[in-house]
């Protein structure tokens, strides 16, 4: 793997110079460490946890239910376990290592204060069904966060329990459906723009709606006339992402909302991109009826390699009565209550459409998000949006001479810059740019999304990148783009310097191997 890149620099991390092909007995190379599976590491059955001796035998009524054979799972000592996961961790890229400019994902710095407060035993070691007087502080956290979310969005209420963004979408769409059904107005269709996240149409279908697409204009925004033409008595509403996935603010948002409302429908806004506008404009002022907020995006709770997320849904006055249980309510005496099935009537919330989760939602994310919000305050959150948008425009204008920016003429972008593969040499693709960036030491941007742009590259730097950091990223992106324009064949084989070369995804899907089996069973 001693491929020389276009700049002439040779890889030298553990395999430097001409000895790049040297084979080691271990398979490791210096600090580049391979790691077997736990099933391959384990020897005779053992355990890394000590328990006291237990003499009591199981009750007789369990006899017929007992395991017939011991559970075949390997156990490792504590030291081996720590080493296994530490070695594995080193094969991951992360926001702690550098920019992670995945468009629509808002990978910003995760403040460690948030981790600390979430682990306070008063929050972390609390059972969800404890009596009210033993959980007042926890309910106050939920209530305090709820009011920040309401104020920041200009809405009337918030359903806190949804577990992630897509779950929040479902919650919002079910509120819409419940509101319509309460009026005896069953409608069948939800309109979704072509540029929407895949979760939007999937959510609409999961909630029992038929999905119809609405087209985008040449400048990358929802086609208002096409939308108006489709509205009618069968349309329950629209699901719109604003700012949209082309990185643009939907200028006609208020007109869209007014038209949808006039036709008896409701407006769902996908809040995945709220980071661009927090503190700058309130969706409630634009006629939105429901919007989920990804606490793991705008409010910095860590993504953890794919969750947990948290997706509270802010609701307009029209939809509030239908929000699901549970939620919190503060009474005149200053006490915050948990409103559930057994006391919903006392709190005049009899039209709740039901319950979406066991217990009360992502408390561990609420504490983190509240700590983040309190740290920034109203002024800091506004600065967050401004810096996020500034950083994205800086990248857009610093690269658009080399990479095609399909909506570069549509005005400033919001918090993400969109490029296409149009300026690359023939046979060079967005994938090559992404894999080339990996060799440069960066996580790639979101690729091939939104679908409305061929070979899309959606770059979201967020506000937590410094100017110097952005300059380094831009230099690398420009370098890789230039190689793709020049037809540098080595780019097709990138990444060269990552823990793995390009992986065979076709084989993985054709003959799925989803669990480990001993060699003899293969």
């Amino acid at each position: 793997m001693n491929v020389v890149n276009a700049s002439g620099w040779k890889p030298s991390m553990g395999e430097g110079g001409t000895s790049g092909d040297a084979v080691t007995a271990s398979g490791d190379r210096g600090l580049m460490l391979e790691e077997p599976l736990i099933f391959e590491l384990a020897g005779e059955p053992t355990t890394g946890v000590d328990f006291e001796h237990c003499e009591l035998e199981p009750i007789a009524a369990l006899d017929k239910h007992l395991r017939k054979a011991p559970l075949a799972l390997p156990g490792l000592s504590e030291g081996e376990t720590v080493r296994h996961y530490t070695r594995l961790s080193r094969q991951n890229y992360a926001i702690d290592l550098g920019p992670f400019p995945l468009g629509s994902c808002t990978m910003k710095h995760n403040p460690r204060l948030n981790e600390k407060v979430a682990r306070l035993p008063g929050f972390a070691d609390l059972h969800p069904l404890q009596p009210g007087d033993t959980i007042r502080g926890a309910l106050e956290v939920i209530n305090e966060l709820a009011f920040w979310l309401i104020d920041l969005t200009g809405m009337s209420g918030v359903a806190m329990s949804p577990k992630a963004g897509a779950h929040g979408e479902l919650c919002g769409v079910l509120c819409i459906r419940a509101a319509l059904e309460a009026k005896g107005d069953a409608r069948e269709v939800l309109l979704v723009p072509e540029s929407a996240h895949g979760t939007n149409p999937a959510t609409a279908a999961f909630a029992g709606y038929r999905v119809e697409n609405i087209p985008a204009t040449a400048e990358g925004r929802v086609d208002l006339d096409a939308l108006k033409a489709r509205l009618g008595p069968d349309v329950a509403g629209v699901m719109i992402t604003n700012p949209n996935t082309c990185g643009l603010f939907e200028r006609d948002m208020k007109a869209i909302s007014d038209a949808v409302h006039a036709a008896g429908g409701y407006v769902y806004c996908d809040g995945a991109n709220f980071n661009a506008i927090v503190g700058k404009v309130r969706p409630g002022d634009l006629g939105v009826d429901a919007m989920h907020i990804n606490l793991h995006k705008t409010f910095s709770t860590p993504h953890g390699g794919g969750g947990p997320g948290s997706g509270p849904v802010v609701l307009s006055e029209a939809l509030c009565p239908y929000g699901p249980l549970p939620f919190t309510a503060k009474t005149a005496d200053g006490i915050v209550h948990l409103v559930e099935e057994d006391n919903a009537a006392e709190f005049d919330h009899k039209q709740a459409f039901g319950r979406m989760v066991a217990f009360h939602g992502q408390m561990g994310m609420f504490t983190r998000a509240l700590a983040y919000i309190l740290s920034h305050g109203a002024d800091g959150l506004r600065q967050v949006a401004e810096d996020a948008v500034l950083n994205a425009n800086y990248i857009l204008r610093s690269c658009e001479d080399l990479l095609d920016a399909p909506f570069g003429q549509s005005g400033p972008c919001m918090h993400e810059a969109l490029f296409s593969d149009a300026s690359l040499a023939e046979h060079f693709s967005t994938l090559d740019i992404a894999k080339g960036l990996i060799d440069e030491g960066f996580h790639p941007m979101t690729v091939y999304f939104p679908l409305v742009v061929r070979g899309a590259m959606l770059v979201e730097p967020t506000e937590t990148e410094s100017k110097k950091g952005l300059d380094r990223f831009i230099a690398s992106l420009r370098h890789v783009a230039q190689r793709a324009r020049d037809g540098d064949e080595a780019l097709h084989d990138a990444p060269h310097f990552a823990p793995r070369r390009r992986l065979d995804e076709t084989q993985a899907a054709r003959k799925p191997v989803l669990t480990w089996k001993p060699a003899a069973e293969d």
């Binding site: 969800p128 502080g137 390699g305 794919g306 217990f359 993985a508």
Partner: protein, 452 residues
């Protein structure tokens, strides 16, 4: 502000490159009448780390944490000991601050963990395959029902009365919108599960029967008999496990004929956290693989022939299939899956068996102590680490009085089944390896005091 690296000179220099005069010029597409001219009024301004920590600590101090009281709550969320190394490892920034592994060459750490996790869950549940996690047990349960509907093309669902009431409520809520027909009822405070009644409720239109194991009252149903009855009618058995530690002692649902096994993985590695984030477990027979919701990690090779892992079969998922996807789930519970997997790696099958045995033993001691309290009737014949009690009066009030005496005594069935007067005097109590003999003695003494 400590999280924002740009300085004013940086901002000016960047605006020059962009070619605009001010940041406001970047927001020109936001209609002017909707643009906020300054920080939203009435909200506090930024605060120091010290000030925020003080505020949050003050709120935390208003709660009575489980570790500060004799503690006996369960009902789908269990307090087990989590080894210190688990929390240390999940705070490695490379795990904590990574995204979903969309670029597998630089996400092998997360991907290999998911592959190991899937294997652990499949073996624990006795199934062929498992996915890379769902939000929690309740949502995994609904997804299993949706999946069973796709497989059988039938729309009637039988819920056992021993299914967690929140899970049942999630199912009923979702079914209102999807028009699935749900047969469900509240449980009775009886010594054993009524497996014959569940079997009788299955008919030819039934897509699946959903059975919690052990059930919500802690009793162990005869899964094998229910599986047989379901299969005879062309229905699937969905087993729901809310306490995976039980499977260190009792047989895995997959070995008893369950077709889909879902569960709540919170007991291992995740902790109580006031109800979330938790960890949805989802496993099934291999032949249903392509109907599964959620992410799957699979083994493959890279261009040099080295073993590696990728997210696979994504043609089931929303980002590819959009409205035709098997689910709308995207972000799941990756970090909780990591915590579960680390804890399970430390335990191994042998450690889990010991943990299960001690949890069960503590429950035996708890049952013995409470049975001696005048007015207390232990309902269960079989149990793992949780039993139902029948008390002389409404248990909501009894639990409030116990809390006043510093004891977190259990979960009121009256609270969870409003309107079911038969259950108002019912209470669930659970014990684990974290329960001490002293806790049990204190509980018995204080409960006797409250009931006296």
């Amino acid at each position: 502000m400590r999280y924002l690296p740009l300085t004013d000179p940086d901002r000016t220099a960047m605006l020059d490159v962009i070619g605009v005069g001010s940041v406001d010029d970047l927001f020109v597409d936001v209609p002017e009448e909707a643009r906020l001219s300054g920080p939203i009024e009435g909200l506090p301004m930024h605060a120091s780390e010290m000030a925020v920590e003080r505020h949050m600590a003050r709120l935390a101090a208003k709660n009575l944490s489980a570790g500060n009281a004799p503690f006996f709550l369960g009902a789908g969320a269990y307090r087990h000991h989590i080894p210190a190394s688990v929390d240390h490892l999940i705070q490695r920034g490379e795990f904590l601050t990574a995204y979903t592994p969309y670029q597998p060459e630089i996400a092998q750490g997360t991907l290999q963990v998911l592959f190991e996790f899937q294997t652990q869950v499949a073996r624990l549940f006795g199934t062929d395959v498992a996915n890379a996690s769902m939000y929690d047990g309740s949502t995994a349960c609904w997804e299993a029902i949706v999946m069973a509907g796709r497989i059988t093309r039938k729309r009637r669902v039988v819920l056992s009365d021993g299914l967690h009431p929140h899970y049942a409520e999630v199912v009923r809520t979702m079914a209102k919108f999807t028009r699935d027909e749900i047969a469900s009822s509240a449980p009775k405070l009886e010594a054993t599960t009524d497996d014959a009644a569940i079997c009788d409720a299955i008919d030819d239109a039934t897509s699946c029967v959903v059975v919690q194991y052990p059930d919500f009252l802690g009793r162990i149903p005869d899964l094998a008999a229910i599986a047989e009855a379901a299969h005879a009618k062309g229905a699937l058995l969905v087993a729901v496990v809310t306490e995976p530690v039980a499977l260190g002692l009792i047989e895995a649902p997959g070995h008893l004929g369950a077709d889909i096994v879902v569960g709540e993985g919170q007991s291992l590695g995740v902790g109580l956290q006031f109800g979330g984030p938790y960890l949805g477990l989802f496993a099934c027979r291999e032949k249903f693989l392509r109907q599964m919701p959620g992410r799957l990690c699979g083994q493959t090779v890279d261009a040099e022939g080295k073993r590696g892992f990728v997210l696979t079969l994504s043609t089931r998922e929303q980002h590819i299939r959009r409205e035709k996807a098997t689910s709308n789930i995207c972000t799941n519970s990756g970090l909780c899956a990591l915590a579960f997997s680390i804890h399970m790696t430390l335990l191994g099958g042998e450690g889990l068996a010991r943990m299960a045995k001690i949890s069960h033993a503590r429950t035996q001691q708890l049952v013995a102590a409470l049975a001696d309290v005048p007015g207390v009737e232990v309902v269960n014949e079989s149990y793992f680490n949780e039993v139902a009690l029948r008390l002389p009066s409404d248990t909501r009030e009894i639990l409030r009085k116990l809390a006043d005496r510093g004891v977190l005594g259990g979960v009121s069935l009256g609270r969870l089944y409003p309107g079911e007067s038969e259950l108002a005097n019912g209470m669930l109590v659970a014990a684990t390896e974290t329960t001490t003999e002293e806790d049990i003695a204190t509980f018995a003494r204080e409960l006797a005091g409250v009931l006296a």
